[in-house]
Each structure stands twice: as C-alpha cells, then as structure tokens.
Symmetry: D2
Subunit: 246 residues, 4 copies
C-alpha cells in the first residue's frame, strides 16, 4: 500500500519571476514531486495555492498520508481554515513536512504553537548540513555534511517549542548555525522541519536533498491510514467496580 | 513589582444554573481571584466571556503577566482571534494556566498544537492528585496526594504533545489515571495545565488547590515583563568576515 | 534475521522460596522466555545471576540484540562491570528492557543516570495498567486497562530523568499512581521500563503481559545489528577549505 | 546564604607542560575560581586530582552545592567511586557543570548515561558560540555569538541522551557545528555542559566565558541545600481506605 504524498507549494515566484522559473520550470512542487517519483513506495500528487480552494479541501486531505508544505511570499494569504484543517489531520495521524520558509507558514505554526521565527537570514551563502542524530532514519544514506554552495542562511535562536529530536544542524559561510532538521510529535502525527530550499537555488534538484525528503516521507507516514473518526471523550457512567476489593 | 494576573472564565454555569451559583456565588473567576488575593506578590483582576470583546483585548493582554483560563460550555463561541492573540502573547513571555475543561479551549489548543482530548470523563468521582515531580516549585507546600472527595474524572490517553514536566498524576475512584499537572514551553512563555475544577464542586475554594494555582502563577510569570516587540527575522547582509582566517 | 533476546534474571526467589517456585517452576526468566517463544521473530535464551560470570560476558552480549533484566533481592551483588558493560552495549544499539524491581538494578540506573527510586511499595494490591500513548507500538493489541487482581504497588514520585514517552500509567487499589511504562533513548539504544512483575504473582504467565513484552522486544531491537566498533572521536587535521569562498 | 562551589580539575597539563603553565599559572581550576571570586553570591574553593583521595571525599561533597569538573588527560585514572558519588549527589540536588573535555569524564557519563562522544576534534580553530535559547538564565548578558579566535573544535553527532534544553550551538572555522551548551535534569539535580575550554588557550580568563560559568553556577545551584537523606522507598502497608466510597 503506497504512501500517498501531497506536495503543496504557493507557486508564486515561479510564475512571476523569470529567474526563478528558470531554476524551477515545473515549479518547486514539481521538483519535489519529481524527486519522490522514483521511489516505489510513494504515490505523489501536487497542489498549489493558486488553485481553487488554495489547492486544499477535505477530498485532498482525506487521501493524504503525508503533506509536504512550501510557502514564502504569500503565506499571509493562506486561509486560516487550512491551518486548522492541517492541524486536525496531523493530530489524527497525517505526517507533515515543512520546508524552508514554511517555518512561518500558518499550518506549521498552528501545529508547533510557537513563533517558529529564525533570528535572521541572508541570501547567497554556503551551507553545511551536519547530521546530529546519527541513526535517525531520516539520515539514512545522507553524507555529513551535505555541502550546499548556494543557500539562504537562517540562524539561531530558532523559536521552536520543545522538540523531539535534532536531526540536522547547519552552519553557514558567515558562521551562523541553525537547527535545520527537527522532529515533533503531535497527537498521532509526526512532523519534520527541514531548512534548505530557497527558491533561487536548485536545492530540490539535488539528489541528496531528495533522499532526505524521501526518508522524511517514509518516517512521517502513519503506520496505518487514519480513519479520521471525530470522536470526543467518552462518558463513563460507572467506575470499574471490580477494581475495588470486596 | 507585582505579577499582574488576569483570571478569565466563561461565567455561564454560574449565571444560568442555580445549583452552580450556590457553589460559586462570585463566579468561578471570583473564587480563583479570591484565592490569589492574599498573596502579596499578585495584582489580580477578572474578566469574563460575557463582557464586551469577550473580556479580552490588547489593553487587557498588554497588562497581563499571567493569564488563567477557565472555559467549558461555551468554548466554541470564543472568537478565534483570542486564540491567536493568546498564543502570540505566550510566545512573547506571558504565562498561561489552563484549568480543567479548558483543555478543550481554543487558546490552550492553539498553544499546544494537539487535540488535548481526554479519553473519557465521569462526574461525581473521588480524585487523588499525586505529586510526580517532587521538587517542582508548583508542588511547594502541597501534600501528596491532594484528596478530593468530589471531582470529575478525566482519563488517559490524554492527547497532549511532548510535555516538559509531569508535575501531578491523578487517580480516580473508578481507577482511571490522568496527567493532571503538566508544563510546556512555547517561545518565551511557560504554560501549566491543571486538571481539577469541575463547576459542580467547590474545588477553587480549597486552600490547597489555591496554593497550587498561586505556585503556578509565580512559576509561569515571565522573569521580566515582555516588551512585546513585533520583530521579524533580521536581515544580515554580510557574513562575519572576521570569522574567516586570513 | 531473528531478534536475539537474552532474558536475564537473578533466579533467587525461585530456588529458595517454595511458594515462589510454585508460581515460577521454570524461573521468572523461564516464564518470560516461554512468553516470547511462540513469536517467530525472536531467538530466545536465558541467563541467570547464579551462573558463572553471573550469566554474562562479552560472548553473551555480542550475540544479544535485546536484553531483558529482572533483579530484586540480590541486585547489590551484581558486579559493577556488568552495569558498565550493559551501558556500553545500549549506547551501541542493544535494546534494554528493565522489569519491575529492576528499576533499582545497577545496569538500569547506569543507563538512566538518576536514582530510579519509587516513592513507596506495598504487596498484595490490585493494579490497573492504562495506556497513555495510544499509538505506541508497545501498546498494540493491549487492552486499556490491563487488569491485575494481584500485583505490587509502586508509586510516584518515580525518580527518573527526562523520559522519552510515557506509554503506561498504573493505578492501584490504594489509589496510588505510577508511570509503569516509560521509554528512554541512550546513544543508539532504546530502553523500556515496565512496572508489573512481582515474584509472588503469576504476572509473566499472563498472555497480555507477554504481548507487552514481545511488543517491547520488537520496539527496542536495533534496526541493524551493532558492529560494536570501539571508535573514539576522529582527529580532523584540516578544516573544510572548500567551505570558504574564494 | 552563598552558593558553595567546588572547582575540580585534574591539574596535569599545567604541572607538566610549561606552555600550558604559561597560560594557566594558577591552574585551570585557579582561573575558573578567579572568575567566580568577584560574584558575591559564591563561596569558592578548588580541588585537584593530584590531591589525596583525588581531591574528593564525603566531607568535600557534603559542603558542595555546585561541582565544576574539568578533566582531560587523566580521566581514566579517576576512581570509579567518584563517578558513583557525584551521580548520587546530583540525584540529591547538587548542581554539576562539566567543562570541555569532561564530556568524556566518568562522573559526567555516569550522570548522562550515554557515551557523550564528540564525533571529532581539531586543535587551533576559531569558534563562534551562538545562543539558541534566547531567554535562558545562563545566557544573561552574554553576546551572541561569543567569538573565540582560538579554540578546539568538537563536532556533531554529539552522542548525548535526550537533553533538556539546547542553550548554545557553536560553529568552527572549518564549518563544523556542536551543541556546546546543553542542560539535563537528573533526580533533584541540574546539569550543564559547556564546550569551550581547551587547555592551550586562555579561554577561562575571558570575562564572557566567566559570565557564562557564573550564570550556570547560579542556575544549577539547588533551591535549598540538600539534606542528603539516604531514604529508600517507603513501605505502605495499608491502602488509602478513605479513598473508597462507602
């Protein structure tokens, strides 16, 4: 049973800036999806913010095991209801992978509960992505460091809540550091944030980055497809009488 | 400099059900505030859902170091913007104490990021609240167990995200268990959830419960009053050149 | 490739107290091993404290993927070197399952780093073991609560360090509570503590308890057999020159 | 009531290598103690491995609220009993600050429970120490980054168990990264590891490093002096009968 992956991105830079379109002719979502296409475990589709209902809806989410999210310039325009819907799905078991500037996205912030702000940024820097959790499945087959000649610097303090595991830590040409791969648990769902991926650089064409994302899809996927029962707490009218000694 | 506490409650049961009004003639918020009044460290006011703007607003939150929240029957009617506002304040350092049925409140869920559902409930049960974190400041002067002849049972699994510390665990007459005192960190803010407090029982008149809440106010209060700067990430145009050896 | 399980116990009560021998004629280790025998994933052997070298040695540990430990009356006599050896193996990936009174064992305390003391105990009580982590693999197929008519009470505060996940919480006939199923991460290794298992009661004959232990073996087993390389930190004589822009 | 600090170091390099003696004429312990001397909150003494009983003993530990540990070349010769004793004291509330190469010390490893190995090292590199936990008391008055022209590189993966908070993350001239300030909780005790401090460089003379260490002493100090009761679990012969409804 394949893992059903929905790759969502805002699809704005690619359509409005020729130099970005040159890097991602099929969109950032297209490049990410292409990177997952060869992995027999995944069934992949893309959705974008410029589609009706911003590409989302119950029908889409009902058939999504893992949602990959890339947003940047138009994150403020994402409807609040999608943040709420994504959070509800994660709680019921859907995996969520937030990429790069999506640390500021409404769905990611709704799931994490803190500002998720990076303390700073700078375009046009080199990045080294070091493995910090040596045996984490997301690091399988990934060299340490991953070397990126061109990337965007994000830096500490990274205002994230209590994390589960630090999987990657990056340093940049300017010396800054950033926890660039971190995991979280929310309800039944697993969440992974991965730092690299500025739109100006062909990062999602990099086979190593594609391996990280593929590993993360497999790791965040729920063990069983969620049945999405909308159950509330159960009323228990009687105590467990047998528990009390006679 | 006193800690400025705002006690917020929905003030519904007390006004519509005579038997609840008999237990809390000054409202649940009034009883909680009265319990904090004798502690010289606190400057306390109350606000309720039936006030204009549901008792909230920037002016209120600007002058709140710790927000205590009690909601139940009308939590669905709380405006989403208050969940967003409370979350933003917590991230900037405001303490948040969510009581009893407020595990289902919009602000608490927004801060935590999971469903926060208890698996079940039952009115009219006895509760024992055991200290699990022996030296936590919230437990200072608190006996273990706290004995409650009449309480409402909540039970595991309690769907909360990764917690910081388990401070209290309760058992009930029916044998169920519940992590009834848990802490979280979000941004600069500290968060505490405390289980006991069903409206039918005079739990907030109990001096031991008042001590727990007072301890929790002192513990969640920010070290310094937040200045609420709405800063985004800083653009760093230059790398730290001095970092590179000549 | 089967998971190689070594079930270690002190084998003292069974040999010196007829009433315990009646409950565990093949020893506590024998009952635990029998409970794992039908699971085709495991290759099981037993070792006991009254054997040469207290049943341990590099040859045993070299062929152990998961070590189950049960100690009680003679834990003070376990050689310190076994605590050190078990800790080193866990760091390299061996799974460790500590049962019941083994919270006070030298190997478990060496791995955890705190006193691991329960605040109290009482023989001859009923126990309810409630699932707290609803989707944890260790809870698969396990009812909540597990009902034990006869068990030994342990209670909070349970002095364990920061835990990874609370999987089970027990309540007892006397109303006490105890985090009776908790996980930890140490180096490459996974660790699980499970509370039930006093020697006077036939707890390890219970098919549900056997399921918990089987699930825990599968969950703590390393993804790959550790190669046990005794590597120290690597000397890196040169910085990554290519990292520096020209 | 001042915080009683014991600064322990092995005092080996300083006595055997003239070039190290030139950097630390009063020993590494002497420089660290001098850095704490001006803070009116502390009562400081030094102890070294070349003293009788390796500078330790119940009399020393009985009067220590916070123990600072620096070891390197002779860590293998530290008696195992001191690792056990330090761990027992931390569990009872003593603060522990492990510096630099003391990640490999017996007491630190006994408290943490994992190998605590850095993946690599290199002398003679520059280091930037970035604040990752913006409001942690240990970072008060500390610039981000702390700039060290000469330091020793340690790098990820850093094999530490689940940590409490990441306070500092360093990058090095070669691009490597390291979680250089991390906290842990064990029993009643607080533990802090701080990375910088290679013996060849005058790091402990740096006023900013001294501020970090002073902050860490204040933060790890127990709220009340431990009474060191050697209590075991309490036998509770009777259940809480009043808990059961009539």
């Amino acid at each position: 049973m394949p893992i059903r992956v929905t790759v969502w991105s805002e699809n704005y830079h690619e359509r409005h800036q020729p130099e970005i379109a040159a890097v991602y002719p099929d969109g950032i979502h297209g490049a990410i999806a292409a990177g997952l296409a060869d992995d027999g475990r995944f069934e992949v589709r893309t959705r974008t913010q410029d589609q009706p209902d911003q590409g989302l809806g119950d029908d889409v989410l009902d058939e999504t095991d893992v949602l990959i999210w890339w947003g940047h310039a138009r994150q403020g325009e994402v409807d609040d209801r999608w943040a709420t819907a994504v959070r509800a799905r994660v709680i019921d078991g859907m995996g969520l992978i937030a990429l790069h500037s999506s640390l500021n996205s409404k769905p990611f912030r709704a799931v994490i509960g803190s500002s998720c702000r990076s303390a700073g940024f700078r375009h046009g820097d080199s990045e080294l992505v070091w493995t910090a959790a040596a045996d984490h499945p997301i690091t399988a087959g990934v060299p340490s460091p991953i070397v990126m000649a061109d990337s965007e610097m994000y830096c500490e303090p990274f205002d994230i809540a209590q994390i589960d595991e630090v999987v990657f830590i990056s340093s940049f040409g300017g010396g800054e550091v950033f926890r660039s791969g971190v995991t979280f648990r929310r309800g039944r769902g697993r969440v992974f944030y991965f730092g690299p991926g500025h739109e100006e650089y062909p990062i999602y064409h990099d086979p190593i980055v594609r391996r990280v994302i593929g590993n993360a899809v497999a790791w965040t996927a729920p063990a069983a497809r969620p049945s999405h029962p909308r159950i509330g707490p159960e009323r228990r009218d009687k105590p467990l009488d047998w528990f009390r000694p006679a």
